[in-house]
């Protein structure tokens, strides 16, 4: 249950980049699970179901709020030094960059790198063709790499 809580909250948080909204979406997902318990036949099924419902609810919430990160990517502080502080800044920069991806690509990236699902599993959760999942993954990685290089963060050594 505790693992499911952090999984559900993190999916919503990485999708919305807003803790309050993520908490609300996560609560809704658990409430929906509670109301559909009779349809759940195993722990694995519950996890699959929660992933699916959380991503759907997060997409709904993002559309409802038309929420985008309040800080423009171009205005973000750049990682200026290596070491732990630089890693923390790079992590935050990556989270924000992922949060600006289009909805479908964002969902694919969060399921891939938070949940470590392979493309076939992602396709099943999102009810999306496997080729589309792979295409989103490839294009998102290319886009993120380009953005990081433009900001002087090439191959993850600190150039600033």
């Amino acid at each position: 249950m505790r693992a499911n809580q952090s999984m559900v909250f993190s999916l919503a948080y990485h999708f919305l980049h807003d803790r309050d909204a993520a908490e609300e979406v996560a609560q809704e997902a658990f409430l929906a699970l509670h109301r559909n318990l009779d349809r759940i036949d195993s722990g694995q099924h519950a996890m699959f179901w929660l992933r699916k419902v959380t991503v759907q609810r997060a997409i709904d919430e993002a559309r409802r709020r038309k929420r985008r990160p309040s800080v423009d990517l171009e205005e973000m502080a750049e990682p200026a030094a290596g070491g732990a502080a630089g890693d923390v800044l790079l992590d935050e920069m990556l989270r924000r960059m992922v949060a600006t991806l289009p909805e479908a690509a964002r969902a694919v990236m969060v399921l891939r790198y938070q949940e470590d699902l392979d493309p076939a599993e992602i396709a099943e959760v999102l009810e999306m063709p496997l080729g589309t999942v792979k295409s989103h993954l490839h294009r998102s990685l290319v886009l993120l790499r380009e953005k990081l290089e433009r900001r002087g963060v090439g191959e993850f050594g600190w150039t600033g």
Binding site: S10, R35, L141, L148
Partner: protein
Amino acid sequence: MDGLEKHLRDALARKEPPAGFAAKAGAAARRPAGTGWRGWAVQGLAAALVLVVAGGLAYRRHEGEAAKEQVMQAMRITASRLNRIQARVREVRR
């Protein structure tokens, strides 16, 4: 896996939900359906609708009472004038 993917895994690692999350989720699950904020909103709208309808009926009733009172007043005035006229007629006849 290249450097970017490794950093993405670190950046998108699972996070713990805020303290009290489980308690809130449990409370929400125990609450009967329709009593969340949407349930309260629906109940609030229903209450507002009842107030508007009841207010409208009361206003119409009030208007009816006022109109009735006006008619009664007019009738009282008319009766009083008639009485005075009759009294003067009686005086003139004498």
